[in-house]
Amino acid sequence: MRENSLRVLIALDSEYQQVFKALIGHPMDDGYRVNAPAVEANYIKKVAVFVDDVVCLTMDWNENVSKNPFISFRLFRPLLDGQILTVSWRDNRAQEISYDFVVTFNPYGRFVFRSDEHANPESRREPEMQKKAACKNRHRP
C-alpha cells in the first residue's frame, strides 16, 4: 500500500450488523533494526474515527502495531447514506493525516472507500490490463 493511503470497507457481518474495517498504508517502522540499513522509527501514535464529527473510536498505538495497520469494529448504530466518516491519524513525526468521506451504501449494504482512487485517478489500471482482466473473468458466473 502507498504510504498514508486509506481503504475503508463497511459491510454486514453474520449477525447483519455493520462492521467498519480500515487499512491504513503506513510502514510502522519501529526503529529497532540493528543491521544496515538502519531505519528511523516511523509509526502512528494516535488514530481516531469520527462519525459526523462525533468521536467514535480513539486509539493510542506504539511501534509494535503491524505494518499497514488494520482496524475493525462493529458499529453500535447503523450508518445511513449521507453521513460523513472521518479517519485521522498522527505520526511520531507529528505528521497529521485525515480523510473525510460521505457514506453511500450499495443495495447489498456495502460501502468502499479508497483514498488512492480519489487522490490520483490517472494512476488507475491501463485499459489493456482492464481488457485482460475482463477476459479472465468472462467464464466466471
Binding site: L57, W61, N62, V65, I71, S72, F73, F76
Partner: protein, 161 residues
C-alpha cells in the same frame, strides 16, 4: 445371596467408573484456571506492565480471569510474529476502554483505546510480537477493570522460543 453380592459389586463398579470419569474431566480444567490466574497476577505485577497500567487506570482493582463480558481471541501459534491478529469479543456496549499489552516487547503497551457510543465489540487489531509471550488485555467494563490473557507462540520456521 450370590445375586445380591453381584448387585453390590456392580454398583461399586459403576460408582468407581463415574468417579474416575469425573476426576478425569474436571481436574484439568481446575488446574488450567488456577494456572491462568497465577500467570495473570504475575503479569499484572510485572514492573513494566504495572507502570503502564498505573499510568492508564491508576490505583483501581482488577477482577482477574475468564469472563463473559470480554474475551481475548488470539492465535495459539503465530507463524509470523510481525502480523498477529487479535480480536476482542464480548458483550455489546460493555467496555469503554481497553489496553493491550505484550510482555516480551520492548514497550509492552501495544495499544490502548477508548470506545465511544457509536463503537462496539468485536474489535480487531494486528500487532507485532517479538517472541512467544503472554498477551494481556485490560478492559474497563461496567463491572470494573477486567484482565484477561492469552499465550501466543511465535514460531519462525519451526519450533517456538
Amino acid at each position: 445371596m450370590n445375586q445380591e453380592l453381584d448387585k453390590t459389586r456392580r454398583l461399586l463398579l459403576k460408582a468407581g467408573l463415574t468417579l474416575s470419569v469425573f476426576s478425569k474431566t474436571f481436574t484439568p480444567i481446575a488446574h488450567a484456571s488456577t494456572n491462568s490466574i497465577s500467570t495473570l497476577s504475575a503479569l499484572l505485577s510485572d514492573t513494566d506492565i504495572f507502570s503502564e497500567l498505573y499510568a492508564l487506570y491508576g490505583d483501581r482493582a482488577y477482577s482477574i480471569g475468564e469472563s463473559d463480558i470480554i474475551v481475548l481471541r488470539a492465535p495459539d501459534i503465530a507463524e509470523n510474529g510481525q502480523v498477529v491478529s487479535i480480536k476482542l469479543i464480548g458483550e455489546s456496549n460493555a467496555i469503554s476502554s481497553f489496553a493491550l499489552l505484550a510482555k516480551s516487547n520492548q514497550r509492552p503497551l501495544l495499544a490502548s483505546g477508548t470506545l465511544h457510543s457509536a463503537c462496539d465489540l468485536p474489535l480487531a487489531l494486528r500487532v507485532k510480537l517479538r517472541r512467544t509471550s503472554e498477551i494481556l488485555l485490560v478492559a474497563d467494563t461496567y463491572q470494573g477493570l477486567i484482565a484477561v490473557h492469552s499465550q501466543v507462540k511465535v514460531t519462525i520456521g519451526c519450533g517456538g522460543f
